[in-house]
């Protein structure tokens, strides 16, 4: 696949995304600055598109970094407890701080996402049995433990409904003023690209990295911070989107390899294309109502994931 093909796909899909929805907007409507259509376009459609682009690129890159640093093709923010830890952080902030502000929530959820991922990497470092399937299974179990702690305390404190809204990734509620936090992931993605070579070297293992004079621990920690930043912003604005960070980097790795300097642009844009397609499907299927994007992503994503598992186990092992 060529990069320009992905870019054209993104442009076409963005256009479609801007002009479908409960209310019919035509290009000609936008000529009138004060029309209702223009207002809807600017307050709802454009922010929604931006949120999809930022979340799609961000989650794919976060997955790519995690797969590189953990040296396992099946590790991603959803299979390593990152997102579950972020949710736990939000809950803790609501439990212990009265009148919790948005900023406090962000800080708590970031700190927990970072700590949660760090603990997972420590577990990974200690276990002897590093089978490609076994490692993400541990990650999923670990995430579920964090998640059940969250659910328990949320239940006790009557916050269950509040918490479950973060479970469901959806762009339905994205309007101007409620998604701008996502822009924080832009510098994170740019940093990921600047440090691409370091992540590739670190992905070849600690001994290998040290041989080339790379300070492995610093790169590892930087990677985990970037992953935590991206995951936090996505969870807080649109919720958990499963599979994205898992499938997209793997598809790119299949045709382009694992040299991050080369794969980061493809991964980011393919993530956007994939998420745009899923969101558009979710908006068309029961029009004028919507299916949350995490449902469409899960359906399409799990199908792709299964194909990859059956066909690609040999590839992932190599």
């Amino acid at each position: 696949m060529k990069l320009w093909m992905l870019i054209i796909a993104t442009i076409v899909l963005s256009f479609i995304s801007l002009f479908i929805g409960a209310i019919d907007i035509k290009v000609s409507d936008l000529l009138d600055w004060h029309s209702d259509e223009t207002q809807i376009f600017l307050i709802s459609r454009v922010p929604r598109l931006m949120a999809i682009i930022l979340a799609g690129a961000g989650m794919s890159i976060a997955g790519l970094i995690m797969q590189s640093l953990s040296r396992n093709k099946f590790v991603s923010p959803t299979t390593a407890g990152t997102l579950d830890a972020a949710k736990l952080g939000i809950l803790i902030s609501m439990l212990f701080l009265t009148n919790v502000t948005y900023t406090q929530q962000i800080i708590f959820s970031f700190a927990f996402a970072l700590a949660g991922t760090f603990i997972f990497m420590q577990i990974l470092d200690r276990i002897k049995f590093k089978d490609v399937i076994f490692v993400p299974l541990i990650g999923i179990m670990y995430g579920n433990i964090l998640s059940s702690i969250t659910t328990f305390f949320a239940y006790e404190a009557d916050l269950l409904q509040n918490i479950s809204s973060w479970l469901m990734g959806s762009f339905t509620l994205v309007i101007a003023g409620r998604y701008e936090l996502l822009y924080v992931s832009v510098p994170a993605v740019i940093l990921a690209y600047i440090y691409a070579n370091k992540f590739t070297v670190a992905g070849m293992g600690e001994d290998f990295a040290k041989n080339l004079g790379l300070s492995y621990k610093v790169v590892l920690n930087l990677g985990l911070i970037l992953v935590a930043i991206i995951s936090t912003t996505v969870v807080l604005t649109v919720g958990v989107i499963p599979f994205l960070g898992l499938i997209v980097p793997n598809i790119v790795s299949l045709y382009l390899g694992d040299n991050l300097r080369k794969t980061i642009p493809h991964t980011a844009i393919l993530g956007v294309v994939f998420l745009l397609i899923c969101d558009i499907i979710g908006r068309i299927v029961i029009h004028p109502y919507e299916i949350p994007v995490n449902v469409t992503v899960a359906v399409i994503g799990s199908a792709i994931f299964l194909i990859m598992l059956f066909r690609g186990r040999a590839y992932a092992k190599k």
Partner: protein, 255 residues
């Protein structure tokens, strides 16, 4: 020159390497030999800074290796550990290009490209330079890794059992290349070997370890004899001369 002075490493209470002192002569192949668990790989890891020693020190050009800057050290000493588990999909050329990382941090200059081309040619990898590593056979993969180390352009090349999982033909190929690196390019090679006969035929000096302690250290011809080998391996090993090579016929000795 690399000087190893009184190195000791314990895992738990058990010493894996105990008070080992060796000087690595420049421009030679030095083989580390010894039974399983003798501490050969651990010693090599400490020399290359992958592991920190409990006591003792390693000097590179009279300077303690701990005091060297990582990026400068990586221009002088390279180490290749057993790399068969590496699951990163890079092309051969991309892998070799990372050998230049200590110099260019990934932004390759024209000079870097020259080193990469030379390494590829030297290791006969021109035809497969754009193939992914996971499409290569074990021997080809090992050659690609050695090409990376050549591109890294270090005086000292340390290799931890590079013949693992290689058949006879590829093992001989790799050892001949290492010999060439020393004889033609003036590099210094330190290698952990399991097969005593490869050590005998290809190395200039042999360092023998047993239970973490240094038992023999000297030119190859002083070590490859039945008396010394009995001390190292607890086996009676007859030696046969074949075209000037000493071959240890250990296959039916009393163990």
């Amino acid at each position: 020159m690399i000087e190893i002075k009184g190195l000791t490493k314990r895992f738990g209470k058990k010493p894996v390497v105990e008070d080992v002192s060796v000087t690595i002569e420049p421009g030679t192949i030095t083989s580390f030999i010894g039974p399983n668990g003798a501490g050969k790989s651990t010693l090599l890891s400490m020399v290359s800074r992958l592991l920190e020693a409990d006591t003792g020190e390693v000097l590179l050009d009279q300077g303690n290796v701990k005091k060297w800057k990582s990026s400068e050290f990586a221009k002088r000493v390279s180490i290749l550990k057993q790399s068969n588990y590496l699951n990163v999909r890079l092309t051969v050329r991309e892998l070799i290009a990372f050998g230049r990382y200590p110099y260019s941090k990934g932004r390759l200059t024209a000079e870097d490209e020259k080193f990469i081309d030379q390494a590829i040619e030297y290791m006969n990898l021109t035809d497969m330079q754009d193939k992914f590593l996971d499409e290569l056979s074990g021997g080809q993969k090992q050659r690609a890794f050695i090409a990376m180390v050549i591109a890294q352009d270090t005086d000292y090349i340390l290799l931890d059992e590079p013949l693992n999982n290689l058949d006879m033909k590829h093992s001989v190929q790799i050892m001949k290349i290492l010999r060439k690196l020393v004889d033609e390019l003036g590099r210094t090679v330190v290698i952990v070997l399991h097969d005593i006969n490869f050590a005998s035929v290809y190395s200039d000096r042999i360092v023998a370890l047993k239970d973490g302690k240094l038992v023999k250290n000297g030119p190859t011809h002083e070590i490859i004899n039945s008396d010394a080998l009995r001390e190292i391996y607890d086996m009676d090993i007859p030696i046969q001369e074949q075209n000037g090579c000493r071959i240890c016929v250990y296959f039916n000795s009393h163990a």
